[in-house]
Symmetry: C2
C-alpha cells in the first residue's frame, strides 16, 4: 500500500490512544488555546480581523480571546495565526515543528460549527483528531528533517497543512480515499518560508495551513478529488521538499507516538533560547550590574547561533528570535514574559546597546536544550552558568501547574476579563465534555472589539 493511503488509514482510524498520548493532546490543546488568547490582541491579528467585514461569511465561529466571530475558515486561520504569533506555542523537539497551531484551530472551528448545527463533537473525538493531525504533522517533518528546514521551509506551516486536513477529515468521518484527496488539497496549498520569521508574513502561512487543511477536508467530503499519491508521488510533497526523504519516519504509526516528543515553552521565544534565558534569569538573581559586564559568551549547539544571532532588532516579533535581546532583557531586567518581547521593550536603548557585548561559541556537543552563559566582568572576573536541561525541554517538561500559570499569563497579556480558573478546568477536563467547543464561551474577551 502506498504511503498516502497508509497515512489516510491511520487518520481515519488511529486505533486506541494510550493515556499518555491523550494527555499530551490535552496539554497541547490547552497550551494552544492559551497562546491564542495571548496573541489575539497583536497588530497582525487586528489587521486580519479588519478583513472580516468584507471577506467573512456568516460569523458562526469564535476568534479565541476576542469578542468577534468569523466564518469557520477564517476562525481556523486567525486562531492558528494567533496561537503561533509569539512562537510561544509547543515544539516537537526532533523537528522544531509547532504542531498544535495549524491543527488545533482547524478541528476546533469545525467542532464549534458542527455544534451549532446540533452535531456537537465530544471532547474525546476532538482530542483524538487533534492528536492524529499533530502526529502526522510531526512524522512528515521527521521524514524531511533537517533538509526541509535548512532549505528554508517553515515546517510548521508546510507539514501542518496536512495535519489540519487529516484532523478535520477524521471529525468529518472521511473515507480513506477522501483522506487522500484532502492531502492532495493540502499539497496544493501548503506554503511557508523561514525568511518570514519575525515578521507579520509568517502568520499568513500558519493561518493558511489551518484554513487550507480544513477547506481541503470539506472539499474532499464533497467529492473534490485530488492526486492518488500526494505524499510519495514523483512530484508529491516528499519529493518537493527533500532529495532523500526518510520513509522510516512513518514506521509504527499508532504504536509509537511522536506527540510524546512535543514540549511547551516557558518563554515566548525560539526554543533554542530556553536554556540561555534560564541561565540569564539565574545570573540576574545574583545582582550583577550591567555596567560591569564587558562581554557575554553563549556556548551552545550551532543552531543556537544560526537561529538567534540577530543584533539590533527593532520589533518585538524579531526580538523573540534574537539572542541579543533575550540575553539583555533577562540578564539586565530579570524578565522573560510576553511584555519582555514587546515592541516597547525592544525600543529601550540600554537593552539595544547591550546586545553588542554578545558573542557566540558553537559547540556541537551541546544538546539543543543546553547552553552555557559566561560573563566576563570589567574587573577580569568570569562567571559561568550552565543549564543542561532547560525547563520546557523533554528532560524537564512543563508541569500542569506550569501550563496553567502560563495560561494565566496569556490572559493577563490579553487584558480581557476571563475566568481563568473555569477555563483551565474546562480544558483540563475537555475529554469529559459532550461538546468539545463549549469552553469557547469562556474565551470571549473584549480585546480588539
Amino acid at each position: 500500500m502506498g504511503l498516502s493511503r497508509r497515512i489516510a488509514g491511520f487518520a481515519a482510524d488511529p486505533g486506541p490512544l494510550p493515556d499518555k498520548v491523550r494527555a499530551a493532546g490535552r496539554r497541547a490543546f490547552l497550551n494552544m488555546v492559551g497562546c491564542a488568547i495571548g496573541g489575539a490582541g497583536e497588530a497582525a491579528i487586528d489587521r486580519l480581523v479588519a478583513l472580516l467585514p468584507a471577506f467573512s461569511g456568516p460569523a458562526t465561529t469564535s476568534l479565541i480571546g476576542r469578542g468577534a466571530r468569523a466564518d469557520m475558515l477564517w476562525a481556523a486561520c486567525i486562531n492558528a495565526a494567533a496561537a503561533n504569533i509569539f512562537d510561544y506555542d509547543d515544539t516537537h523537539i526532533p523537528t522544531v515543528i509547532h504542531p498544535a497551531a495549524p491543527v488545533g484551530p482547524a478541528v476546533l472551528a469545525l467542532a464549534e460549527s458542527l455544534a451549532a448545527e446540533g452535531r456537537p463533537v465530544p471532547g474525546t473525538a476532538l482530542i483524538r483528531a487533534f492528536v492524529t493531525g499533530m502526529e502526522v504533522t510531526c512524522r512528515l517533518g521527521l521524514a524531511l528533517h533537517p533538509v526541509h528546514y535548512t532549505r528554508g521551509w517553515h515546517i510548521t506551516s508546510t507539514c501542518g497543512t496536512f495535519g489540519a486536513a487529516l484532523a478535520a477529515g477524521q471529525i468529518l468521518g472521511l473515507t480513506e480515499a477522501q483522506m487522500v484527496d484532502a492531502m492532495g488539497h493540502a499539497l496544493a496549498q501548503n506554503a511557508g518560508s523561514v525568511e518570514t520569521l519575525g515578521t507579520m508574513s509568517k502568520s499568513l502561512s500558519v493561518g493558511q495551513a489551518a484554513r487550507a487543511g480544513l477547506m481541503g477536508a470539506l472539499l474532499a467530503q464533497d467529492g473534490f478529488t485530488g492526486p492518488a499519491a500526494p505524499l510519495e508521488g514523483e512530484r508529491g510533497f516528499l519529493a518537493l521538499h527533500s532529495d532523500a526523504p526518510d520513509l522510516a519516519a512513518f514506521d509504527g504509526l499508532g504504536q509509537r507516538w511522536e506527540v510524546l516528543q512535543n514540549t511547551f515553552k516557558p518563554y515566548p521565544c525560539g526554543v533554542v533560547l530556553n536554556p540561555v534565558i534560564e541561565a540569564c534569569l539565574a545570573l540576574h538573581g545574583e545582582g550583577i550590574d550591567a555596567d560591569r559586564i564587558a562581554r557575554v559568551t553563549l556556548t551552545g549547539h550551532p543552531l543556537l547561533r544560526q537561529r538567534t544571532d540577530r543584533p539590533g532588532v527593532e520589533t518585538g516579533r524579531l526580538a523573540q528570535v534574537s539572542a541579543q535581546h533575550a540575553v539583555a532583557v533577562s540578564l539586565l531586567r530579570g524578565e522573560a514574559g510576553l511584555a519582555a518581547f514587546s515592541d516597547a521593550a525592544v525600543a529601550g536603548p540600554l537593552l539595544r546597546a547591550f546586545g553588542s557585548r554578545l558573542a557566540f561559541c558553537d559547540d556541537p556537543g551541546f544538546a539543543l536544550e543546553a547552553a552555557e552563559v559566561t560573563l566576563d566582568l570589567t574587573d577580569g572576573r568570569r562567571i559561568t552558568r550552565r543549564v543542561e536541561a532547560a525547563k520546557g525541554g523533554l528532560a524537564h517538561p512543563m508541569t500542569e501547574a506550569d501550563l496553567a500559570a502560563k495560561l494565566r499569563g496569556q490572559i493577563r497579556h490579553n487584558g480581557a476579563r476571563l475566568d481563568a480558573d473555569a477555563l483551565i478546568r474546562a480544558l483540563e477536563t475537555i475529554e469529559d465534555r459532550d461538546n468539545a467547543a463549549d469552553f469557547l464561551a469562556l474565551t470571549r474577551g473584549a480585546t480588539g472589539e
Copy 2:
C-alpha cells in the same frame, strides 16, 4: 539595491508600455476571460461555489461566466481556477507558465470592487497592472527554470502569487516598501505541485495564487509588514526553489518584455500537444480507418513524453495532458475542442483502447512547438505528418480572429446566452474604457445558478 526592492520599483512604476506589450496584455486578458467563461461550469468550480454561502463575505464581485457573485477574494480565487481549469489559457513559452490566470482575476476583482466604491479603474490602468504582474511572474519563472518545474513545483501557482500581489499592489498605489511587504505575503502563501495536475486539487493552488496575492497587497496597504528580501533573502523565494537561480532573468526590466513570449492555445491541452493534435487533425482529414492503424509514433522533444505519456486516463482533466487521449480523439474523430476532453469523451472504449497503440520517440532536436506523427498501417504502409511550428506557438501565433473564435467556443461550452460580439468588442477596446470592469455585465450567464 536588492532584487526585491528593484522588482517593487518596477511594479510601482513600470514606465511606458510599448504598444505591442499593451496589445499582448489585451490579448492575454481577453483569452483569460474566455477561458474563465469556458471553465465556469466545471464540477470543481461548482464545488468551490458551493462553499460561498458559508464562507464568502458580501457578494460584491462577479464570477465570470456564472450568475453568482462573491466577495473579492473568492472571486479572484474562483475566476483564476476557472480560467486555468482546462489548461486552455496562455503559455509563456520559455517557462510554460500560464501567467494570466493568477494575475488577471486578482486585478479584475479589485477593479470591480473599487468601481462599486465609486473609484473605477480605467482600462489602461488595468492592462498596465496586469502586464506588470505577468511580466514579474514570467521573470521569476525564468530565474528558476527549469529546476523549479522539474522538482515538481506548479510554476504558474508559485510565481503567479507574486504577480498577482504586485499587479494588485499597482492598482492600489502601494509604495515600494509596501510592494516588498506584499511580496513577503506572497512568499508566505505561494504553493502548487505538478503532482496535482489533472486533478481538482490543481485548481486550489491557482485559485490560491490569485487570492493570496490580492490579499497580500490589501494587507500590505494596511501596514501588515513582511521580510525585507522576500525574493533574494537567504531563505527567500529564489533560494527555496533553486540551488542556482539565474539572476540575469531580471535584467532589462521595462526594456525587454517577457510577456511578448506569451502564447495562446488553440486546443485545451498541455501546450506540448499542440503540434501533435495539429498533425492528427490533418491525418484525420485523410480519412484513414482506425482499424488500419497498427501503431502511432510521436517523435518530439523529450518533454512531450515526460508530460503527456498518460495511458488509460479516466477523467477529462487528465485527458488534457494525455497524448494517448489527444491522439485518439483528434486522429479518430477529428475533434480537439473542449468537448473532446470531457469525462464523457474519455469514457469511450474505442478511444481508450486506441491509446495502447501509441509509442513515443524522444528527440531533443525538436522544438517544443514541433512534432512528427507517424502511422504504421496494418498493410505495412507508413504515413508521416510533421509540424514544425504549431499554431499557437511563437512562430505561428493565434490571430485576433482566432482568439475571438476561441472565445465564442468557450461561450458555447458554457451554455450561457451571452452577447459574444459585444463581449469581444468590449475586451478588444478595454483600454478605451473608464471602468475596466464594466464588461463583466456581459459575462453573467446562467451557468451553475
